[in-house]
């Protein structure tokens, strides 16, 4: 609707040439959402002379649709679809999984390591645990932990990065040296150490994973914010009497966020991988319903019940791939010049 308001009627006749007579608002709306136009929007490389011309001119007025168009590659849609499915597993496992949580989590049921059957579509693992049920319920932990830890790293990184970039001097030095120290220890090693200090509870793993992500985001944010600091609008904000914090978080921050948003989706995938690795190494609650934990617990029964160890891994791969596809698409759309 916003786009409609942006174009004045006299401009429209300029845009579409003499033949175009803009009708009432309702008619315009009807024209915008014809099947033909929608097909043109969604089909990559669609050619239609009139619509092409209109598209070209409209692009001068609106960027929103062109973003959708740029996002509209088959791989990005696939990624979005995967993320949607996995997230709905995580949110509504009660409805999507036909097995209640208590049966999946800690029960000891008859039928250890049974092959796939009608009752258990993907077979059962040790203690008669249903593999499909644990696959669906396991999405909950992976998604919760990775999203929440990314939020922790994002908030921390953005705050520290902006402060470091704006203040400069010894504050910048201090923050960046601490970031250097933390990021020079390999991530998994530090994660293992911190998690064994804090304990294997959900909130502790979340916090550890989040804290480890802060240096990366801080560095990214700092480099983006430093280039913004020299801009004229910062100076004019200063002149008009805005406080330091206001300049930092109301002026500089929103203008340097796009780089970070691009990194976000990709890092969710990395966080899920880190989480799975941690659980695989055995640093996880023994009653957790988690993919990495399942792989670890069932790897010793590989000869008898390969499905029990292999399916949770497929869950990890597909989820991470979904987020990475989405991240790739976002990067291509928002930041076409960046590297990998």
């Amino acid at each position: 609707m916003v786009e409609q308001k942006l174009i004045r009627e006299d401009e429209l006749s300029l845009v579409y040439g003499e033949t175009y007579r803009p009708g009432s608002f309702k008619e315009q709306l009807k024209e915008m959402f014809t099947p033909k136009y929608l097909a043109f929007l969604l089909k990559p490389g669609a050619e239609d002379e009139e619509l092409n011309r209109r598209d070209f001119e409209m692009n001068k007025f609106k960027t929103k649709r062109s973003l959708i168009r740029r996002l509209n590659s088959p791989l990005t849609i696939l990624g979005g679809l995967i993320v949607f499915i996995i997230c709905s597993w995580a949110v509504f496992p009660h409805w999507l999984s036909f097995i209640p949580f208590k049966d999946v989590a800690i029960s000891i049921l008859p039928g250890t390591n049974r092959p796939p059957s009608f009752e258990h579509p993907l077979g059962t693992a040790a203690f008669g645990r249903d593999v499909l049920g644990r696959l669906i319920w396991g999405a909950r932990r992976s998604i919760t932990l990775s999203l929440a830890s990314i939020v922790v790293s994002l908030v921390g990184g953005v705050i520290f990065g902006t402060i470091a970039a704006y203040k400069g001097g010894w504050i910048d030095n201090l923050i960046m040296r601490i970031a250097d120290i933390v990021s020079s220890i390999p991530g998994l090693i530090l994660l293992v150490i911190i998690v064994s200090v804090m304990g294997y509870d959900l909130q502790n793993i979340l916090l550890a994973l989040g804290l480890l992500g802060i240096p990366g985001y801080a560095r990214l944010m700092r480099s983006a914010a430093i280039s913004q600091r020299a801009m004229t609008y910062v100076e004019s904000a200063k002149v008009s009497g805005a406080s330091e914090w206001r300049i930092m978080f109301r002026h500089i921050l929103p203008n340097s966020m796009s780089l970070i948003l691009v990194a976000l989706s990709f890092d969710i995938g990395t966080a899920i991988l880190g989480l799975a690795s941690l659980a695989f190494l055995g640093f996880s609650q023994t009653d957790a319903v988690e993919w990495g934990f399942d792989v670890n617990a069932n790897k010793s029964a590989l000869i008898n019940a390969p499905w029990a160890a292999i399916w949770p891994g497929i869950g990890i791969v597909i989820t991470v791939m979904g987020f990475m596809l989405l991240g790739d698409g976002l990067r291509d759309a928002l930041d076409p010049r960046s590297k990998v």
Binding site: I181, I185, L188, G313, V317
Partner: protein
């Protein structure tokens, strides 16, 4: 001269970072619940008197700052402490010397394979952009990036070892085979040098799966990097002029474009080399190789403070030195960069 000055300055700058790393790991490792002689959740609880006596003996009852200063002083003198429980009484440095070759053997073979393969596939994919070959390579590369190494290992163990019986599942050598005489400490190279071809074949056989698992993931990452780096270069003007003056297409790609595209790729390879020890944890646990990664997991599980500290220090040290080395390498590869 300025390069030398730059190198010295960079190396001096790593000292505070290393100091911070030692401090953080020391504090964190001592903050873990329990102690080397009494792990939380351990079934058999030792005699509390005895545990206290052991702690007293190793000086673990002192205030943490005192302990840290003592540890730092010993470390500067080359004494990294000794293992308290995992390999009782063996100095950490000796332990590392025994374990490092296993880790490096898998890591370096994988790195060499992945560097050669990753750059080639990346270049192929960039040159044949949006063609079927490119699409296949990109999909496989994405799969490799998204795949946890332990799962790939388990998959291969199941299909290649258990189902087809092609490769052994775990360990670096068959049980009962003796070790070759140590020359380079690399098992495969040593057995070739000393003429024990039976050992060499056995070791190579055992190394196939771990090296493949590790290098597949690295190839995936490297392909993505070199593809995008190459794509950027291929659009530059001098590539067009090279084509216009009639260079062979192969020379344009390999001599003009690739040389410039290599600069960011060298960074990645250098950092990977620095991360070999840190990245070994998952492969070693999956394939039960007794290297640094397994030692680290054991040490954390048993709260073996000095082993944890020693391992983290050596890992970080190698990593930081590689970062500096890569920076210097830049100037060598690219004469436009001056320090």
């Amino acid at each position: 001269m300025s390069l030398l000055k730059y190198t010295v300055r960079r190396l001096l700058m790593t000292i505070p970072i290393l100091f911070g790393v030692i401090f953080i790991t020391f504090i964190l490792s001592h903050m873990m619940p329990g102690n080397p002689f009494l792990k939380p959740g351990q079934f058999i609880k030792g005699n509390p008197e005895y545990v206290r006596a052991l702690l007293e003996k190793h000086g673990l009852n002192d205030p943490i700052i005192v302990q840290f200063l003592k540890y730092l002083k010993n470390m500067l003198q080359g004494d990294w402490g000794e293992s308290l429980i995992v390999s009782k009484g063996i100095p950490v440095w000796d332990l590392i010397k025994v374990k490092v070759p296993v880790t490096l053997e898998v890591g370096i073979y994988a790195l060499i394979i992945s560097s050669i393969l990753g750059i080639r596939t990346g270049v192929y994919s960039a040159v044949h952009r949006n063609k079927p070959g490119d699409t296949i390579i990109r999909t496989v590369a994405l799969l490799g990036v998204a795949m946890p190494v332990f799962w790939l290992g388990i998959l291969m163990q199941y299909f290649l070892s258990i189902k087809l019986g092609l490769f052994p599942t775990i360990r670096i050598s068959t049980i009962g085979y003796d070790d070759p005489i140590r020359i380079t400490s690399f098992r495969l190279i040593d057995s070739l040098l000393t003429g024990r071809f039976d050992l060499a074949i056995d070791t190579a056989w055992h190394l196939v799966l771990p090296v493949f698992a590790l290098s597949f993931l690295q190839v995936a990452g490297l392909t993505r990097y070199s593809r995008s780096s190459m794509l950027e270069i291929l659009e530059l003007d001098y590539v067009r002029s090279a084509r216009a003056k009639g260079c062979k297409e192969r020379d344009v790609i390999n001599k003009h474009a690739l040389k410039n595209a290599l600069i960011p790729i060298v960074t990645i390879i250098g950092l990977r080399f620095g991360g070999v020890i840190g990245g070994a944890i998952l492969t070693e646990t999956t394939f039960n190789l007794k290297g640094m990664g397994m030692l680290f997991v054991d040490a954390v599980n048993w709260r073996d403070y000095f082993v944890i500290n020693g391992l983290v220090f050596i890992t970080t040290f190698v990593f930081i030195v590689m970062v500096v080395f890569v920076d210097i390498l830049y100037a060598v590869i690219d004469p436009r960069i001056r320090y």
